[in-house]
């Protein structure tokens, strides 16, 4: 539901482009990231990865490594407590034991006085392996005769029932209506298979952790991560220690995008600190980060869609196979989310989807901005264009005809808070000059052709739990502590703005406390586009709680009824209509701590719960680790790409990009624009360049040289964020999250533009020159 903004609050910065609070430290080199820290007596940690994709560990001799001068600890799996950790399936150990599951799977760790010594020591560890047949094809991995990677999986603690198939990690099936009874009624049917790559997060700061242990055995960790609370929980579980013995602090974080969700190298670094009794820092090289850490799920999507000749979408059947890699990580929620979004922002009355996450012998796939949705939407939006083509209909018109509106329910029956997809389509259509550009052949230089393509999309924002504390200082300034980790998206500034705007303060009067598990309230993590909505709500309501307490004190001081009080800019409370009757917040704070009431501390904690639970009777709903109604509120967007294709080389250049997003209400305008522009560019990489490549289970491009992400000259300067502000009732100042949805559309928008330019459908991304040329050659229209 949409609502009007509360304009009664004075001094609001909502909607303005407020510069980042941490800007000065980031432009001056003073911002401290994990690897910038050092401590007295600090040791350096390094990890040894498995050389084989699938092998049994026969024996390990670490004596030579231990004997190397400067080496303080050499740890292997057998040295650690046998504690499995993981989110939905506890299937991972801090170091492999008995078996290795991928090339790079950490099998030993060293702490030494110098990094170079630690690395030398790794080479002295002698491990005998017995190679096993690797499982590399996720579809073959499900067949009965496939080797089994997790032969002990019956022992793993899980949050849901695992599929019976040999390497099945998660199976989800959703159905509304029944497409199999409808195909006969369809005038047009498109059917294809789509291939999507594993995309590496390529946060600019590689994974890094510093762990220290104090005299009582309490471990303190500084790390590049997306949640202090999650890391605290995993380290405690791995070490078999109570969470009260683990403290986790967030320094500045150099990007995450999902790759630093859950845990990375924190447990093993903590073990090294515990083993040596010294602080240990472990920063991965880029090559190790790429080989050992995580990625977006690659995979295959089989999709069939049918429509009537007037363009009404009638039926879809979809099978999604995602390669989850060696450990489950967040796979059991990624493939269900892919399934949930495989219908797109449309009404398709007969829809069936099955989605798999499958274990294979490659590095684990994880959360990555969009969380399964970019994969599903690539297939879905490609088919919408192909149906429009077959019907001779404008793809924009087809989308407008079928897009959800008003009281339509989302797939699985989830209620839509604000059906803004139509507004997004209209806005992006106007801004891009769509009608004019689709009518004609776009003028292009010799040897090149130009095209324009669209994608419509939806995503979630919200989910799980967050809390916040706002405390009033004696001088009337406030401190906000929400446990949010700002990984670069700007939440420190945004949450400060929400507090300031709730209390009429200047931003300079709000202190934003760093996330520290010793003092911060619980916050799930920086993921799921959830910070603005979840923590934003928590800090807003905690601020309102502070306001109530300030007003109670002000009632006494100003001798009036609470209803006569008003906030005034800069931290003052006054009597309505009486300009001279005013006190500073400091007076209320002073009275509370020296006279009556006690310190003023506002708090709010909550968990996202849908207003109406979905009815499992109206659909088939199987294998969701977390129910689809619990994944937060829906957001919508429509994006258009204009591209130029070289007819000789197949090279594609994106010339201009328009992205219309329903953001509810921008809290920080430039930050919202920056999120959208950054997300679009990250997914231009997904669409055109980025692909992790394996040869027999070995990653063959683990360097920035061999794995290209877009540089400034590879992407357009003209990336236009177009904001639609329909404030959402349940959101702080109406603001919805935008961090992921911006990544969902570029792959199909770009491949649809390629099709408009050269008439060829690219069904495998990245759309490299070779694949574009292949598609052109296979297409008789060219």
């Amino acid at each position: 539901m949409s609502t009007q903004l509360d304009h009664d609050v004075p001094n609001t910065s909502i909607g303005k482009s407020i510069p980042r609070r941490e800007g000065p430290e980031k432009v001056s080199g003073k911002a401290i990231y994990s690897d910038d820290m050092s401590m007295n007596g600090m040791l350096h940690g390094a990890l040894l990865g498995s050389p084989y994709p699938h092998a049994r560990i026969v024996s390990i001799d670490k004596s030579k490594a231990e004997a190397l001068p400067g080496v303080k600890a050499v740890l292997v799996g057998e040295d650690l407590p046998f504690n499995y950790i993981g989110m939905f399936i506890k299937d991972q150990l801090a170091l492999a034991r008995d078996k290795v599951m991928y090339v790079g799977d950490p099998v030993a760790a060293v702490a030494a006085t110098e990094l170079s010594i630690a690395k030398d020591a790794l080479r002295l560890i002698e491990i005998e392996y017995e190679e096993l047949e690797p499982v590399l094809d996720p579809e073959a991995a499900l067949l009965a005769d496939s080797p089994v990677i997790h032969d002990k999986r019956a022992d793993y603690p899980t949050m849901f029932e695992l599929p019976k198939e040999p390497n099945g990690c998660c199976y989800t099936e959703l159905m509304e209506g029944d497409p199999n009874t409808i195909w006969d009624q369809c005038d047009v049917i498109v059917e294809d298979e789509y291939t999507v790559p594993a995309q590496y997060h390529m946060y600019m700061e590689p994974v890094s952790t510093l762990a220290d242990v104090d005299g009582s055995g309490k471990i303190t960790i500084w790390s590049s991560m997306q949640s202090v609370g999650r890391v605290q929980m995993y380290v405690a579980a791995a070490m078999g220690l109570p969470m009260s013995q683990i403290r986790v602090i967030a320094p500045r974080i150099g990007g995450g995008f999902g790759g630093k969700c859950e845990f990375t190298n924190q447990p093993i670094t903590a073990f090294l600190a515990q083993a040596t009794g010294k602080p240990v820092k472990m920063t991965l090289s880029r090559e190790d980060d790429m080989s050992m850490m995580k990625s977006r799920h690659g995979g295959k999507i089989y999709m069939k869609t049918g429509a009537s000749k007037d363009g009404t979408l009638l039926a879809r059947d979809c099978r999604i196979i995602l390669d989850g890699g060696a450990y489950a990580d967040e796979s059991p929620e990624v493939s269900p989310i892919a399934a949930l979004f495989s219908r797109g922002p449309y009404r398709i009355p007969n829809m069936r989807v099955e989605a798999w996450s499958v274990y294979t012998n490659r590095s684990r796939a994880s959360a990555f901005r969009g969380f399964g949705n970019p994969q599903a939407t690539f297939a879905s939006e490609s088919q919408i264009d192909d149906i429009a083509d077959k019907l001779g209909m404008d793809p924009m018109t087809l989308r407008q005809k079928n897009a959800l509106e008003g009281d339509d329910l989302f797939f699985c029956g989830k209620r839509i808070e604000s059906a803004s997809i139509q507004a997004c389509l209209e806005k992006v259509k106007q801004a891009s000059g769509w009608e004019q550009k689709r009518k004609q052949t776009l003028p292009a230089p010799p040897g090149k052709r130009r095209g324009i393509g669209i994608a419509a999309m939806s995503h979630i924002c919200g989910l799980l739990a967050s809390g916040a504390n706002v405390t009033l200082n004696e001088d009337g300034t406030v401190t906000v502590n929400s446990g949010c980790v700002d990984i670069g998206q700007g939440s420190d500034t945004l949450l400060s703005q929400i507090v300031a705007s709730s209390l009429g303060l200047d931003l300079s009067q709000v202190n934003h406390a760093n996330a520290d598990s010793d003092s911060s309230p619980y916050n799930f993590q920086t993921s799921a586009s959830r910070t603005t909505y979840m923590s934003g709500n928590a800090v807003k309501k905690a601020s309102e709680n502070v306001k109530e307490q300030i007003f109670k004190q002000a009632e006494q001081i100003l001798e009036c009824a609470e209803s006569d009080l008003e906030l005034r800019p800069g931290g003052f409370v006054g009597v309505k209509g009486v300009p001279e009757a005013v006190i500073p917040f400091a007076a209320a704070a002073g009275r509370s701590i020296y006279q009556e009431g006690g310190p003023i501390m506002g708090t709010h904690n909550w968990i996202y719960t849908p207003e109406d639970k979905m009815d499992p009777k109206r659909m088939l709903l199987k294998g969701f680790a977390m129910m689809p109604d619990g994944v937060g509120i829906l957001t919508f967007a429509a994006q258009i790409a204009e591209v130029e294709v070289d007819e000789v080389t197949g090279q594609v250049e994106v010339l201009e990009y328009w992205a219309a997003h329903d953001v509810g209400q921008a809290i920080n305008l430039a930050s919202v624009e920056g999120q959208i522009q950054g997300g679009v560019v990250q997914s231009i990489g997904y669409a055109l360049f980025e692909e992790m490549l394996w040869d027999n289970g070995r990653l063959i491009n683990p360097s920035m040289m061999d794995y290209k992400i877009p540089g400034m000259a590879d992407v357009p300067y003209k990336i236009h964020p177009l904001l639609i502000e329909m404030p959402e009732d349940s959101a702080p100042f109406g603001a919805k999250g935008v961090g992921e949805i911006c990544c969902v559309g570029p792959a199909p928008a770009i491949t649809n533009a390629i099709k408009h330019a050269v008439g060829a459908r690219v069904t495998q991304i990245p759309a490299t020159p070779e694949r574009v040329l292949d598609a052109m050659q296979n297409n008789s229209d060219c």
């Binding site: 430290e25 001056s28 080199g29 401290i32 946060y203 600019m204 990007g255 990984i487 950054g678 560019v681």
Partner: protein
Amino acid sequence: MTNKQIVKLEVNGDTHELLVQPTQTLLHVLREQLQLTGTKCGCNNGVCGSCTIIVDGQAVRACLSLAVASSEKEITTIEGLEENGKLQSLQQAFIDKQGLQCGFCTPGMIMSSLALLAKNPSPSIDDIREDLSGNLCRCTGYVKIADAVMSAIEVEQS
């Protein structure tokens, strides 16, 4: 180790006599020995540009430079830009235009931009895109970085 050499580095106006391994990069020495951690290591093989510093007026990748080869050269890192505690207009422009998000690429991006403006005081948007294409950023999509550089030029010229 016996093969260490003494090197005299002039960094941000200060002279340091240091004992370094001949194989050590300038990046390693700046970060580990001089604690100048503003210069970042994103790839350590000369691709990402996060370690860009200015050596004798040229933008240089500290991860590809040997410390022993940097003797007697004038080295400027991100920590050397403030004048009397005040940010340079280019630094301020990165803040004002939100030409940064996580901030990890920012020092290198600013050093490359400074080197560009030193040789071409009024670059076009395309000059900027071309010249800064060796500095990778994963957060911003580059638009606001280009805007920051353009805005700094306007400030300088007004």
